[in-house]
Symmetry: none
Subunit: 213 residues, 4 copies
DNA sequence: AATGAATGAGACTTCATTCAT
DNA sequence: AATGAATGAAGTCTCATTCAT
């Protein structure tokens, strides 16, 4: 249907489909789905409006592909090459979490529009079945890891913790984008460490007591 | 100019301005600014389209007033009647935070649309100066309190912590709305307690050690 | 849904719905459904494009209503006030047919666009169920009369005869429209008489033999 | 200019022009001129869109050639190999008419799309001069024959009769296509005989009286 | 010679806003 | 003061035609 599927050796530079997806991501991330006109996207991609419709059946199809593309990128950024570890072993979980947090930070930095777009409220009205399946497939591994990690712990459940942590991360990125905040990698790591205490106070390695005044 | 600002004692029942604001909030929260048609709002408010324009100059003016209205509600919910306390005194800060968290929860429950609307991405393109000022005025007291609380603490700065906490709370509410989560008041309080550790691990009162299996 | 339904006494002159239907009939009759742009119709009706859409949900809905309107007019023109007659009695059938033919002619003269539009090929692709039902309801009485008339006659069946007669009439009107023909009421009546022989040669009253030159 | 007009003996198999004409006829007959997209035609013909434009200057040029092609086919089907006869001689005219009617029927059966396309309303807007001339050239011989046949007859004029007869035939074919009718060759011949009475009641050979039930 | 990707004018439709009632 | 019919600019999408390959 769509004219994607290039033969080997064809230059990627000229892949209109890719160019349009990227332009659409930027536009949707900035102004939202309803706030973005299709010709704007086409124009930003440097193609005619009609051309866009050669690659995507409709605006809705486009936003779904943009969504899936961004979600895929996130999934890759988070999980690609992560070794299977035994979270039960002492100290492993904390390192694992730190790595995840670091990867999230790297993703938000490398693909700010994708991150922003994914965090927009309510894609629901236009997401199709395929997109929704992908959504779940990204969350599932995190949830499973969380379950393993906190199987017998007290305190809030895994879902609540995940929501808190994810939200916390989003909060930092959003605050930064809105100019309330400027944060470097070091500080982001510290923030991650603080969040770790949120997950697993009882698993945290003891810190030396704060020195008095 | 507009027939707003009724004097004291005027019955609120007939206050079209109020009714329109409420209907607009619901619509904007559900479908976003660009996804909402003005006649929809008017119709939901039970008034004619023309009438709406007697109370608000334009769609943009309307959304700005909706924004300010929601932000005011939030401010009231958070700060109204909170006694000035000396956060430096032992244990006061934790209680103060718990109260704030509780109030946030109550607000999100009582005014779900307002909360959702405020958390939508990018009001920026249509917010006017007045709205932006209000934005700051809600954040400022929190920031000051944070500063006082963590003046000499190590770890992430106040702005980062605020972003983390706010984000964490938003994350829980959003996850709940999207159906990933179901949480009651008790659990929300627990989540708040977990978040407190995020702010001030060194200030947290020691908990009894976890009981062995 | 549509704002039709005027109260009693409201001037019909200003009935936009009516005006739009008439303008659409003319346009569709002249250029066909696909050859007519909605703004053309609106403009011909003297209203804005948006206004047309207040009265009709879509171009397809419009053409369906135009179709039904024209079909109704035809039905009224053909059958309204026709007394029930006993077609079996001698000479009645011929008179009845002549009357029908005369009415058809009057309709084609009074409502040339409606006639032309109805005779366009293939409304089928856009006609909805309601329109198709109406279609049948106009044909049915003719078919029944034909059945009664020719119950025991030899020669072509009723359906074939109806198609021949209807086609013959259409042929004359079309030839006239295309300029191949100019025909007055008297000649049209003669043509009807000729067609009567097509139906019922065996029922035709004998004519005096042609006088030799 | 265009690669049309191949010389004698050139294999027709590869004649793209012919293939495109045929595909266009089918498409135009089914969906009309405005309802048919050029790439659809090209695709149905199994050629690229650009290729079509090597053979035809524009959509309008294409439809004109399709029209002329169909009209030629009709002319050939009607007149090719018809011997000159003296219509004035007794019984010849009826036979001649029956033959014409039979040929029409054969044409409508062999080339249903051509027949249907030719009968569509209003080619006028896009027909060029050349096409219009052809139109006349098909009608003229019929008209002349009619004139000769009914030179001194009373009743409707030749043009009216021709319109009636042509219309009657079209009516049968159209009714059949729309599913109102199913007719075989025998019945079509009967219909033709009935139509003959329409032309020339005074010339019709007497039939045996109807047998009583 | 053949192709089909690319294009922008123009199609259908919506919606913020106005204004006569 | 209130209404909702009216509007045209702007949005989504199609298609006749061109042109680089």
């Amino acid at each position: 249907m769509t004219p994607a599927k290039r033969g080997r050796g064809r230059p990627l530079v000229d892949d209109k489909r890719r160019i349009i997806l990227d332009a659409a991501l930027v536009a949707f991330a900035e102004r939202g789905y309803h706030g973005t006109a299709v010709p704007e996207v086409a124009s930003a991609a440097g193609v005619g409006t009609g051309t866009l419709y050669r690659y995507f059946d409709s605006k809705e199809a486009l936003v779904n592909e943009v969504y899936r593309d961004a979600k895929q990128k996130l999934r890759t950024a988070l999980f690609s090459g992560v070794p299977e570890v035994d979270l039960a072993r002492d100290g492993v979980a904390e390192t694992w979490f730190a790595e995840l947090w670091r990867r999230l930070g790297a993703f938000a930095k490398a693909e700010p529009e994708a991150f922003r777009f994914l965090e927009m409220q309510d894609h629901a009205p236009y997401l199709d079945h395929k997109s929704r399946e992908l959504e779940v497939s990204v969350l599932a591994p995190l949830w499973l890891a969380g379950k393993r990690l906190r199987a017998h712990a007290e305190g809030p459940g895994v879902d609540v913790l995940m929501a808190l942590l994810w939200g916390a991360f989003v909060g930092v990125i959003k605050a930064q984008r809105l100019g309330y905040l400027r944060i470097d990698d070091k500080q982001l790591e510290q923030a991650g460490a603080a969040c770790w205490r949120l997950i697993a106070p009882d698993l945290t390695r003891p810190r030396p007591p704060r020195k008095k005044g």
